[in-house]
Symmetry: C2
Subunit: 211 residues, 2 copies
Protein backbone atom coordinates (compact mmCIF):
# COMPACT_ATOMS: atom_id res chain seq x y z
CA UNK A 1 0.00 0.00 0.00
CA UNK A 2 1.31 3.45 -0.89
CA UNK A 3 2.13 5.24 2.34
CA UNK A 4 2.40 8.79 1.12
CA UNK A 5 0.28 10.41 -1.55
CA UNK A 6 3.27 10.40 -3.87
CA UNK A 7 3.00 12.25 -7.14
CA UNK A 8 4.74 9.37 -8.90
CA UNK A 9 2.85 6.37 -10.33
CA UNK A 10 3.27 3.10 -8.44
CA UNK A 11 6.53 1.28 -9.19
CA UNK A 12 7.75 3.93 -11.58
CA UNK A 13 11.55 4.11 -11.37
CA UNK A 14 12.87 7.32 -9.85
CA UNK A 15 14.67 8.17 -13.08
CA UNK A 16 11.36 8.33 -14.97
CA UNK A 17 9.55 10.58 -12.50
CA UNK A 18 9.76 13.66 -14.70
CA UNK A 19 6.15 14.88 -14.79
CA UNK A 20 4.42 14.63 -18.16
CA UNK A 21 2.42 17.73 -19.11
CA UNK A 22 -1.18 17.24 -17.98
CA UNK A 23 -0.39 14.21 -15.83
CA UNK A 24 -0.97 16.08 -12.58
CA UNK A 25 -4.34 17.31 -13.79
CA UNK A 26 -5.45 13.78 -14.69
CA UNK A 27 -4.29 12.52 -11.30
CA UNK A 28 -6.16 15.33 -9.54
CA UNK A 29 -9.30 14.58 -11.56
CA UNK A 30 -9.13 10.91 -10.56
CA UNK A 31 -8.67 11.92 -6.91
CA UNK A 32 -11.58 14.36 -7.05
CA UNK A 33 -13.82 11.68 -8.62
CA UNK A 34 -12.65 9.20 -5.97
CA UNK A 35 -13.50 11.60 -3.12
CA UNK A 36 -16.98 12.13 -4.55
CA UNK A 37 -17.61 8.40 -5.06
CA UNK A 38 -16.28 7.40 -1.62
CA UNK A 39 -18.39 10.11 0.02
CA UNK A 40 -21.50 9.18 -1.95
CA UNK A 41 -21.60 5.38 -1.85
CA UNK A 42 -18.94 4.53 0.77
CA UNK A 43 -15.70 2.60 0.40
CA UNK A 44 -17.24 -0.84 -0.05
CA UNK A 45 -19.60 0.00 -2.89
CA UNK A 46 -17.25 2.37 -4.72
CA UNK A 47 -15.46 0.82 -7.71
CA UNK A 48 -12.33 1.81 -9.60
CA UNK A 49 -14.36 1.42 -12.81
CA UNK A 50 -16.99 3.97 -11.70
CA UNK A 51 -14.35 6.38 -10.43
CA UNK A 52 -12.46 6.14 -13.74
CA UNK A 53 -15.69 6.70 -15.66
CA UNK A 54 -16.49 9.80 -13.62
CA UNK A 55 -12.99 11.15 -14.20
CA UNK A 56 -13.26 10.30 -17.90
CA UNK A 57 -10.16 8.06 -17.96
CA UNK A 58 -9.39 4.42 -18.59
CA UNK A 59 -9.53 2.29 -15.39
CA UNK A 60 -6.01 1.10 -16.24
CA UNK A 61 -4.76 4.65 -15.73
CA UNK A 62 -6.14 4.58 -12.17
CA UNK A 63 -4.15 1.38 -11.60
CA UNK A 64 -1.11 3.05 -13.13
CA UNK A 65 -1.27 6.06 -10.83
CA UNK A 66 -2.57 4.51 -7.62
CA UNK A 67 -2.48 0.71 -7.71
CA UNK A 68 -5.94 -0.23 -6.42
CA UNK A 69 -9.06 0.87 -4.56
CA UNK A 70 -7.45 0.82 -1.10
CA UNK A 71 -4.43 2.83 -2.30
CA UNK A 72 -6.76 5.25 -4.08
CA UNK A 73 -8.68 5.73 -0.84
CA UNK A 74 -5.44 6.38 1.05
CA UNK A 75 -4.49 9.05 -1.49
CA UNK A 76 -7.97 10.60 -1.31
CA UNK A 77 -7.79 11.11 2.47
CA UNK A 78 -4.09 12.01 2.56
CA UNK A 79 -3.60 15.29 4.36
CA UNK A 80 -1.77 17.93 2.38
CA UNK A 81 1.37 17.84 4.50
CA UNK A 82 4.16 15.41 5.40
CA UNK A 83 3.23 13.69 8.69
CA UNK A 84 6.88 13.36 9.75
CA UNK A 85 7.47 17.07 9.30
CA UNK A 86 4.34 17.77 11.35
CA UNK A 87 5.49 15.37 14.10
CA UNK A 88 8.88 17.06 14.35
CA UNK A 89 7.31 20.52 14.42
CA UNK A 90 5.06 19.45 17.32
CA UNK A 91 7.90 17.79 19.24
CA UNK A 92 10.26 20.74 18.74
CA UNK A 93 10.22 23.21 21.63
CA UNK A 94 9.32 23.42 25.30
CA UNK A 95 8.38 19.93 26.56
CA UNK A 96 5.89 21.49 29.00
CA UNK A 97 3.79 22.76 26.06
CA UNK A 98 3.98 19.80 23.67
CA UNK A 99 0.31 18.96 24.43
CA UNK A 100 -0.75 22.47 23.50
CA UNK A 101 1.24 22.36 20.24
CA UNK A 102 -0.27 18.99 19.34
CA UNK A 103 -3.88 19.97 20.02
CA UNK A 104 -3.39 23.32 18.26
CA UNK A 105 -2.04 21.46 15.20
CA UNK A 106 -5.15 19.24 15.13
CA UNK A 107 -7.64 22.03 15.79
CA UNK A 108 -6.18 24.60 13.39
CA UNK A 109 -4.86 22.16 10.78
CA UNK A 110 -7.78 19.71 10.62
CA UNK A 111 -10.90 20.74 12.58
CA UNK A 112 -10.87 24.38 11.41
CA UNK A 113 -9.76 23.63 7.83
CA UNK A 114 -12.66 22.58 5.60
CA UNK A 115 -10.60 20.41 3.23
CA UNK A 116 -8.56 18.63 5.90
CA UNK A 117 -11.64 18.19 8.11
CA UNK A 118 -13.57 16.64 5.22
CA UNK A 119 -10.77 14.13 4.65
CA UNK A 120 -10.52 13.36 8.36
CA UNK A 121 -14.26 12.74 8.61
CA UNK A 122 -14.16 10.57 5.45
CA UNK A 123 -11.34 8.51 6.95
CA UNK A 124 -13.21 8.13 10.25
CA UNK A 125 -16.46 7.12 8.53
CA UNK A 126 -14.71 4.58 6.32
CA UNK A 127 -12.74 3.04 9.21
CA UNK A 128 -15.87 2.81 11.38
CA UNK A 129 -17.61 0.61 8.83
CA UNK A 130 -14.76 -1.20 7.05
CA UNK A 131 -12.59 -3.22 9.45
CA UNK A 132 -10.01 -3.69 6.69
CA UNK A 133 -9.26 0.05 6.78
CA UNK A 134 -8.35 0.12 10.49
CA UNK A 135 -4.63 -0.35 9.74
CA UNK A 136 -4.84 2.79 7.62
CA UNK A 137 -5.95 4.96 10.56
CA UNK A 138 -3.42 3.24 12.84
CA UNK A 139 -0.69 4.18 10.40
CA UNK A 140 -1.76 7.68 9.29
CA UNK A 141 -2.53 8.94 12.80
CA UNK A 142 -0.70 6.81 15.34
CA UNK A 143 2.39 5.42 13.61
CA UNK A 144 3.23 8.42 11.41
CA UNK A 145 2.39 11.35 13.69
CA UNK A 146 1.67 10.58 17.35
CA UNK A 147 4.24 7.86 18.11
CA UNK A 148 7.08 9.89 16.49
CA UNK A 149 6.09 12.85 18.69
CA UNK A 150 6.27 10.66 21.82
CA UNK A 151 9.63 9.25 20.74
CA UNK A 152 11.01 12.67 19.84
CA UNK A 153 10.33 14.08 23.31
CA UNK A 154 12.01 11.02 24.85
CA UNK A 155 8.87 9.55 26.43
CA UNK A 156 8.75 5.95 27.68
CA UNK A 157 5.85 3.72 26.54
CA UNK A 158 5.61 5.82 23.37
CA UNK A 159 3.01 3.54 21.74
CA UNK A 160 0.65 3.59 24.75
CA UNK A 161 0.96 7.37 25.03
CA UNK A 162 0.36 7.84 21.29
CA UNK A 163 -2.70 5.58 21.46
CA UNK A 164 -4.21 7.50 24.38
CA UNK A 165 -3.64 10.79 22.54
CA UNK A 166 -5.26 9.27 19.44
CA UNK A 167 -8.34 8.24 21.46
CA UNK A 168 -8.85 11.85 22.59
CA UNK A 169 -8.05 13.49 19.26
CA UNK A 170 -10.17 11.18 17.10
CA UNK A 171 -12.94 11.29 19.71
CA UNK A 172 -12.92 15.09 19.46
CA UNK A 173 -13.13 15.00 15.65
CA UNK A 174 -15.99 12.48 15.91
CA UNK A 175 -18.03 14.30 18.54
CA UNK A 176 -17.53 17.79 17.07
CA UNK A 177 -17.85 17.07 13.35
CA UNK A 178 -19.79 13.83 12.94
CA UNK A 179 -22.09 13.80 15.98
CA UNK A 180 -21.97 17.63 16.01
CA UNK A 181 -22.37 18.10 19.75
CA UNK A 182 -23.42 21.73 20.12
CA UNK A 183 -21.29 22.49 23.22
CA UNK A 184 -18.22 21.55 21.12
CA UNK A 185 -19.23 23.14 17.79
CA UNK A 186 -20.01 26.39 19.64
CA UNK A 187 -16.53 26.62 21.16
CA UNK A 188 -13.85 28.43 19.17
CA UNK A 189 -10.50 26.95 18.21
CA UNK A 190 -8.51 28.60 21.01
CA UNK A 191 -11.01 27.50 23.65
CA UNK A 192 -10.89 23.92 22.40
CA UNK A 193 -7.10 23.94 22.56
CA UNK A 194 -7.19 25.27 26.13
CA UNK A 195 -9.75 22.62 27.15
CA UNK A 196 -8.04 19.58 25.64
CA UNK A 197 -4.30 20.44 25.73
CA UNK A 198 -3.81 19.44 29.40
CA UNK A 199 -5.19 15.96 28.60
CA UNK A 200 -2.69 15.43 25.80
CA UNK A 201 0.13 16.93 27.87
CA UNK A 202 -0.57 14.41 30.63
CA UNK A 203 -0.76 11.47 28.21
CA UNK A 204 2.58 12.46 26.68
CA UNK A 205 4.62 13.44 29.72
CA UNK A 206 3.07 12.24 33.01
CA UNK A 207 4.36 9.16 34.77
CA UNK A 208 2.24 6.16 33.73
CA UNK A 209 0.68 3.85 36.33
CA UNK A 210 2.72 0.79 35.29
CA UNK A 211 6.29 -0.35 34.62
Amino acid sequence: MVVKGSDAPVDEPAARRGRRPGASTTRDEILAAARRQFAEVGFRRATVRAIAAEAGVDPKLVGHWFGGKAELFVASVQLPFDPRVLAMRIADGDRAHVGERLVAALVHGVLEDAVARGRGVALLRAVATEPQLAPLLRRLVVAEVLTPVAHAIGADHAEVRASLVASQMVGLLLMRHVVELAPLTERGADELVALVAPTVQRYLTAELPFE
Copy 2:
Protein backbone atom coordinates in the same frame (compact mmCIF):
# COMPACT_ATOMS: atom_id res chain seq x y z
CA MET B 1 -38.85 7.99 19.07
CA VAL B 2 -38.95 5.55 22.00
CA VAL B 3 -36.31 6.61 24.48
CA LYS B 4 -36.05 3.50 26.62
CA GLY B 5 -36.22 -0.07 25.39
CA SER B 6 -39.55 -0.51 27.13
CA ASP B 7 -41.09 -3.96 27.30
CA ALA B 8 -44.49 -2.50 26.44
CA PRO B 9 -45.67 -2.05 22.84
CA VAL B 10 -45.80 1.52 21.59
CA ASP B 11 -48.87 3.42 22.73
CA GLU B 12 -50.29 0.51 24.68
CA PRO B 13 -52.22 1.87 27.68
CA ALA B 14 -50.58 1.11 31.02
CA ALA B 15 -53.60 -0.92 32.12
CA ARG B 16 -53.03 -3.39 29.28
CA ARG B 17 -49.35 -3.99 29.93
CA GLY B 18 -49.90 -7.43 31.47
CA ARG B 19 -47.48 -9.58 29.47
CA ARG B 20 -49.08 -12.13 27.14
CA PRO B 21 -47.43 -15.55 27.29
CA GLY B 22 -44.78 -15.68 24.59
CA ALA B 23 -44.86 -11.95 23.87
CA SER B 24 -41.45 -11.34 25.39
CA THR B 25 -39.95 -14.16 23.34
CA THR B 26 -41.34 -12.71 20.12
CA ARG B 27 -40.02 -9.27 21.03
CA ASP B 28 -36.58 -10.75 21.80
CA GLU B 29 -36.59 -12.66 18.51
CA ILE B 30 -37.36 -9.46 16.60
CA LEU B 31 -34.56 -7.65 18.45
CA ALA B 32 -32.10 -10.47 17.76
CA ALA B 33 -33.01 -10.44 14.06
CA ALA B 34 -32.70 -6.64 14.03
CA ARG B 35 -29.20 -6.79 15.57
CA ARG B 36 -28.09 -9.34 12.97
CA GLN B 37 -29.54 -7.33 10.06
CA PHE B 38 -28.15 -3.98 11.25
CA ALA B 39 -24.72 -5.58 11.77
CA GLU B 40 -24.78 -7.31 8.39
CA VAL B 41 -26.11 -4.69 5.99
CA GLY B 42 -26.00 -1.49 8.08
CA PHE B 43 -28.83 0.77 9.19
CA ARG B 44 -29.60 2.28 5.80
CA ARG B 45 -30.06 -0.95 3.86
CA ALA B 46 -31.81 -2.87 6.65
CA THR B 47 -35.62 -3.07 6.29
CA VAL B 48 -38.38 -3.80 8.79
CA ARG B 49 -39.74 -6.30 6.26
CA ALA B 50 -36.47 -8.30 6.14
CA ILE B 51 -36.07 -8.18 9.93
CA ALA B 52 -39.66 -9.41 10.39
CA ALA B 53 -39.05 -12.21 7.87
CA GLU B 54 -35.90 -13.32 9.69
CA ALA B 55 -37.77 -13.33 13.01
CA GLY B 56 -40.67 -15.22 11.38
CA VAL B 57 -43.29 -12.60 12.26
CA ASP B 58 -45.60 -10.23 10.41
CA PRO B 59 -43.99 -6.80 9.77
CA LYS B 60 -47.05 -5.23 11.46
CA LEU B 61 -46.01 -6.90 14.70
CA VAL B 62 -42.65 -5.08 14.51
CA GLY B 63 -44.59 -1.83 14.14
CA HIS B 64 -46.77 -2.81 17.07
CA TRP B 65 -43.81 -3.48 19.39
CA PHE B 66 -41.33 -0.85 18.23
CA GLY B 67 -42.93 1.71 15.91
CA GLY B 68 -40.40 1.92 13.06
CA LYS B 69 -36.85 1.24 11.87
CA ALA B 70 -35.23 4.06 13.88
CA GLU B 71 -37.03 3.01 17.09
CA LEU B 72 -36.09 -0.62 16.42
CA PHE B 73 -32.46 0.43 16.07
CA VAL B 74 -32.63 2.37 19.34
CA ALA B 75 -34.01 -0.71 21.10
CA SER B 76 -31.34 -2.94 19.53
CA VAL B 77 -28.47 -0.82 20.88
CA GLN B 78 -30.12 -0.02 24.21
CA LEU B 79 -27.81 -0.93 27.07
CA PRO B 80 -29.33 -3.32 29.60
CA PHE B 81 -29.57 -0.74 32.37
CA ASP B 82 -31.37 2.52 33.13
CA PRO B 83 -29.07 5.42 32.16
CA ARG B 84 -30.45 7.68 34.92
CA VAL B 85 -29.72 5.07 37.58
CA LEU B 86 -26.20 4.72 36.18
CA ALA B 87 -25.70 8.50 36.20
CA MET B 88 -26.78 8.78 39.83
CA ARG B 89 -24.55 5.87 40.85
CA ILE B 90 -21.53 7.57 39.21
CA ALA B 91 -22.31 10.97 40.75
CA ASP B 92 -22.90 9.51 44.22
CA GLY B 93 -19.79 9.63 46.43
CA ASP B 94 -16.49 11.43 46.78
CA ARG B 95 -16.35 14.27 44.22
CA ALA B 96 -12.57 13.80 43.92
CA HIS B 97 -13.10 10.30 42.45
CA VAL B 98 -16.08 10.90 40.16
CA GLY B 99 -13.80 10.57 37.09
CA GLU B 100 -12.58 7.19 38.28
CA ARG B 101 -16.14 5.96 38.89
CA LEU B 102 -17.25 7.15 35.46
CA VAL B 103 -14.36 5.56 33.55
CA ALA B 104 -14.69 2.35 35.59
CA ALA B 105 -18.40 2.21 34.68
CA LEU B 106 -17.55 2.53 30.97
CA VAL B 107 -14.64 0.10 31.03
CA HIS B 108 -16.26 -2.61 33.14
CA GLY B 109 -19.85 -2.09 31.97
CA VAL B 110 -19.26 -1.61 28.24
CA LEU B 111 -15.67 -2.25 27.03
CA GLU B 112 -15.19 -5.46 29.04
CA ASP B 113 -18.74 -6.79 28.54
CA ALA B 114 -19.18 -8.54 25.19
CA VAL B 115 -22.90 -7.78 24.79
CA ALA B 116 -22.70 -4.12 25.83
CA ARG B 117 -19.52 -3.60 23.80
CA GLY B 118 -21.18 -5.07 20.71
CA ARG B 119 -24.10 -2.65 21.07
CA GLY B 120 -21.77 0.28 21.68
CA VAL B 121 -19.74 -0.52 18.56
CA ALA B 122 -22.94 -0.99 16.52
CA LEU B 123 -24.17 2.42 17.67
CA LEU B 124 -20.82 4.04 16.85
CA ARG B 125 -20.66 2.44 13.39
CA ALA B 126 -24.23 3.46 12.57
CA VAL B 127 -23.76 7.04 13.76
CA ALA B 128 -20.50 7.40 11.83
CA THR B 129 -22.25 6.66 8.54
CA GLU B 130 -25.84 7.84 9.08
CA PRO B 131 -26.04 11.53 10.03
CA GLN B 132 -29.70 11.08 10.98
CA LEU B 133 -28.63 8.86 13.89
CA ALA B 134 -26.36 11.48 15.50
CA PRO B 135 -29.17 12.72 17.79
CA LEU B 136 -29.46 9.16 19.09
CA LEU B 137 -25.85 9.12 20.33
CA ARG B 138 -26.22 12.66 21.67
CA ARG B 139 -29.21 11.52 23.70
CA LEU B 140 -28.11 8.03 24.84
CA VAL B 141 -24.61 9.08 25.89
CA VAL B 142 -24.53 12.81 26.54
CA ALA B 143 -28.07 13.85 27.54
CA GLU B 144 -29.05 10.73 29.51
CA VAL B 145 -25.78 9.84 31.27
CA LEU B 146 -22.96 12.39 31.15
CA THR B 147 -24.85 15.68 31.53
CA PRO B 148 -26.87 14.35 34.51
CA VAL B 149 -23.57 13.32 36.16
CA ALA B 150 -22.17 16.83 35.68
CA HIS B 151 -25.38 18.40 37.03
CA ALA B 152 -25.52 16.00 39.99
CA ILE B 153 -22.03 16.98 41.18
CA GLY B 154 -22.97 20.64 40.89
CA ALA B 155 -20.61 21.47 38.02
CA ASP B 156 -20.96 24.67 36.00
CA HIS B 157 -20.99 24.39 32.18
CA ALA B 158 -22.45 20.88 32.54
CA GLU B 159 -23.05 20.45 28.78
CA VAL B 160 -19.50 21.41 27.80
CA ARG B 161 -18.04 19.12 30.46
CA ALA B 162 -20.31 16.23 29.40
CA SER B 163 -19.33 16.74 25.76
CA LEU B 164 -15.61 16.69 26.55
CA VAL B 165 -16.05 13.50 28.59
CA ALA B 166 -18.02 12.00 25.68
CA SER B 167 -15.20 12.82 23.25
CA GLN B 168 -12.72 10.86 25.40
CA MET B 169 -15.02 7.95 26.23
CA VAL B 170 -16.32 7.38 22.69
CA GLY B 171 -12.80 7.89 21.33
CA LEU B 172 -11.56 5.16 23.67
CA LEU B 173 -14.29 2.76 22.52
CA LEU B 174 -13.46 3.58 18.90
CA MET B 175 -9.69 3.21 19.15
CA ARG B 176 -9.75 0.08 21.35
CA HIS B 177 -12.60 -1.87 19.77
CA VAL B 178 -13.04 -0.62 16.20
CA VAL B 179 -9.52 0.44 15.22
CA GLU B 180 -8.13 -2.12 17.71
CA LEU B 181 -4.96 -0.25 18.61
CA ALA B 182 -2.74 -2.91 20.19
CA PRO B 183 -1.34 -0.67 23.00
CA LEU B 184 -4.97 -0.21 24.17
CA THR B 185 -6.28 -3.76 23.62
CA GLU B 186 -3.26 -5.11 25.52
CA ARG B 187 -3.98 -3.01 28.62
CA GLY B 188 -6.27 -4.51 31.24
CA ALA B 189 -9.41 -2.84 32.57
CA ASP B 190 -7.82 -1.46 35.76
CA GLU B 191 -4.87 0.01 33.86
CA LEU B 192 -7.22 1.72 31.39
CA VAL B 193 -9.19 3.23 34.27
CA ALA B 194 -6.00 4.52 35.89
CA LEU B 195 -4.80 6.01 32.59
CA VAL B 196 -8.03 7.78 31.59
CA ALA B 197 -9.72 8.65 34.92
CA PRO B 198 -7.64 11.82 35.53
CA THR B 199 -8.76 13.17 32.14
CA VAL B 200 -12.43 12.73 32.99
CA GLN B 201 -11.90 14.04 36.52
CA ARG B 202 -10.42 17.23 35.07
CA TYR B 203 -13.20 17.66 32.51
CA LEU B 204 -15.83 17.28 35.25
CA THR B 205 -14.32 19.28 38.11
CA ALA B 206 -11.48 21.58 36.99
CA GLU B 207 -12.04 25.27 36.45
CA LEU B 208 -12.77 25.87 32.76
CA PRO B 209 -10.84 28.49 30.76
CA PHE B 210 -13.88 30.69 30.11
CA GLU B 211 -16.78 32.35 31.90
